[in-house]
Symmetry: C2
Subunit: 196 residues, 2 copies
DNA sequence: TCTTTTATGAAACAAACATTCCAATTATAT
DNA sequence: ATATAATTGGAATGTTTGTTTCATAAAAGA
């Protein structure tokens, strides 16, 4: 019975995401959103809620897509250590492709909003812990298989890997040379290598 | 002859910096600035310029203070490798002290404004290169003294160190456990250690 | 003390902001 | 074809935005 939405949700959300990504949350106005999506104000509010709600939708969507990048990298890998390397190499490609230096959507969100918006901080804090757990699992597997040394706990190595990841994403806003980034990863992963 | 300013510049700037640090550039209004400094709007404009000008003043001031943290760490060090460690340990203390998770003022600036403000991007890009050069110099000295291995160029190690630094600052917004951070640094610096 | 020069206070500015309202429209299911 | 229920367009909401204006106050040198 009802009238249906007159636009492609996916396309609209992608345009909104690119806009927020470029200008940040506070730098983006509803007017900008109207212009870039081609939707009317009412349609936006009706279909996606207010500005914060749209942004949160996009943040969650971004995290879920990133989750896939993480897990897809593992499918191709023949062991946990290689899996970790593939994950990092995937993100290097993200950085190299990002010719405008927009960085990581969720790090941008963390930096801009986590201090002032408790719900966003809680969400991102959980995601950070989740990512660290992800690395921890891989390191643990690698240690069990004697591919990764056991000088430090899997947990501690996971912190180190996550830190390297966020560092590359942030540094990568101004530094998008693939070879340099690959060497950084090589150095980071060298820490895990088994004793020879 | 003229009437003099009725306030302490340093105190006013410190208050403005804390405000921008907490709320970000776009999250801060002139009204907020008036409230927190206790100055009148006209006094702010008259003495410090417009919003962007104030922010840029604070950014430059922040960078200069950070520069001192870098160089002061070296004074106490007996060799370049120890110098690098001291620099990182100093920043760990900054992170641990930062109980509200405000992060690094200049990384916050980079993430929020570098895409939209060309002059800020240029400035921060130069600063990033400057910091990398700083590390490069230390690594080179360390390699010359055979305290740091020569598996990779000083320049490449400098990128790695800078990346670790930015990673710790970003990760540290949610992770302020000194021991974990010290281990991260230990792992990072382990990459440089001479071959045994 | 008087003049000069600057800082200050309060009000005013237009523009931009996020959000809401309601009438008009339109797609679907009966 | 018609009734239903949601989407849409456009105007209007009242705040808040950054910045300017100008008259007043006050400090310092003569």
């Amino acid at each position: 019975m009802p009238r249906t939405e007159d636009f492609d949700r996916e396309i609209v959300l992608a345009k909104a995401r690119d806009l927020f990504w470029q200008k940040g949350y506070n730098g983006t106005s509803m007017r900008n959103l109207v212009e870039v999506t081609g939707l009317n104000r009412s349609s936006i509010y009706n279909s996606f809620g207010n500005k914060k709600a749209i942004y949160k939708t996009l943040l969650i969507q971004y995290q879920e897509e990133n989750e896939k990048i993480y897990t897809n990298a593992l499918v191709r890998a023949s062991n946990p250590l290689e899996g970790i390397r593939f994950v990092f190499e995937n993100f290097i490609e993200e950085i190299v492709k990002d010719s405008q230096g927009r960085g990581c959507f969720s790090i941008n969100c963390k930096v801009e909003l986590s201090r002032e918006d408790e719900s966003i901080r809680d969400y991102l804090e959980k995601m950070q812990e989740h990512r660290i757990e992800f690395f921890k699992g891989l390191v643990q597997e690698g240690q069990d298989a004697h591919l990764i040394n056991a000088k430090q706990s899997a947990s501690q190595y996971a912190y180190f890997l996550f830190c390297t990841f966020q560092g590359m994403r942030t540094t990568g806003m101004f530094l998008r040379n693939r070879d340099i980034l690959l060497q950084i990863v090589h150095n980071g992963l060298g820490v895990l290598r088994r004793d020879s």
